[in-house]
């Protein structure tokens, strides 16, 4: 089961089964300690960057695809429609769910629908070279 961990040197928060051996932010070794949800919220605060605009999402997606065997679909109109859909889903349903999927109501199952999803395991990606919604396509 995943738990919350905090680096006692730089206050990095990690959510995972195990604490990282080396903190990815400050490089401290064996510095993570188990914490609870209220503590994690106090550490993070609520002043982080909001990814609430189409252009910001496009930037994030392009960064995500850098150096990978896939890229963002070059059809910008298409991609912007998807981005608007995700922002709409975030506003109405709390998370950036893929607009080409639909939630089941089971919060754990629905985590798999947050974009970018783990599309490498999808049969459609293996067969067609695109993720389900077509946001990411295999590089030539």
């Amino acid at each position: 089961m995943k738990k919350l961990w905090r680096c006692n040197v730089c206050n990095d928060i990690h959510y995972g089964v195990k604490a990282p051996t080396i903190c990815p932010t400050c490089g401290a070794k064996m510095a993570f300690t188990l914490i609870d949800y209220p503590e994690s919220m106090k550490v993070i605060f609520d002043d982080g960057e909001r990814l609430d605009e189409v252009d910001k999402l496009l930037e994030v997606w392009n960064k995500f695809a850098e150096g990978k065997p896939f890229k963002v679909n070059p059809d910008e109109v298409f991609v912007r429609t998807l981005a608007k859909g995700e922002l709409e889903n975030q506003k109405n349903h709390g998370l950036k769910y893929c607009p080409c999927r639909i939630t089941t109501g089971d919060r754990f199952e629905d985590l798999a629908l947050i974009c970018p999803c783990n599309f490498f395991i999808q049969p459609v990606y293996k067969e067609s070279g695109e993720c389900w919604c077509g946001l990411f396509v295999k590089r030539d």
């Binding site: 998807l82 109405n92 080409c100 639909i102 109501g105």
Partner: protein, 101 residues
């Protein structure tokens, strides 16, 4: 319009670009079917209507199978045969065959 239990249903999302592309094809097929036997295709938008989303989830087993494991749009469900079609590569011919079964 067909009665519940005998409907042909097109589930779509307003912000889904594939749904937008398939929509005119579904409309065309629906008009053909309506002329043929009065049984057109009902359209249900699922991201902005919880009622429609619930209906779609109630057909989850067939739809998930057709959509590659998770519920997806665009998708079509035939209440009579309990068969589903899903995805951007759905063709007019497939829809006609699915509807006429």
């Amino acid at each position: 319009m067909s009665e519940a239990g005998d409907r042909l249903i097109f589930f779509w999302g307003r912000e889904c670009p594939h749904c937008a592309k398939l929509h005119p094809v579904v409309t065309e097929v629906s008009e053909e079917l309506a002329k043929e036997n009065g049984r057109g295709i009902e359209e249900k938008e699922v991201w902005h209507s919880e009622e429609n989303a619930k209906l779609m989830r109630s057909y989850g087993q067939a739809l998930k199978k057709a959509c590659g494991g998770s519920l997806g749009v665009p998708a079509l469900y035939n209440e009579r045969t309990k068969k589903a079609l899903c995805g951007m590569r759905t063709t007019k011919e497939q829809i006609l065959e699915w509807a006429r079964e």
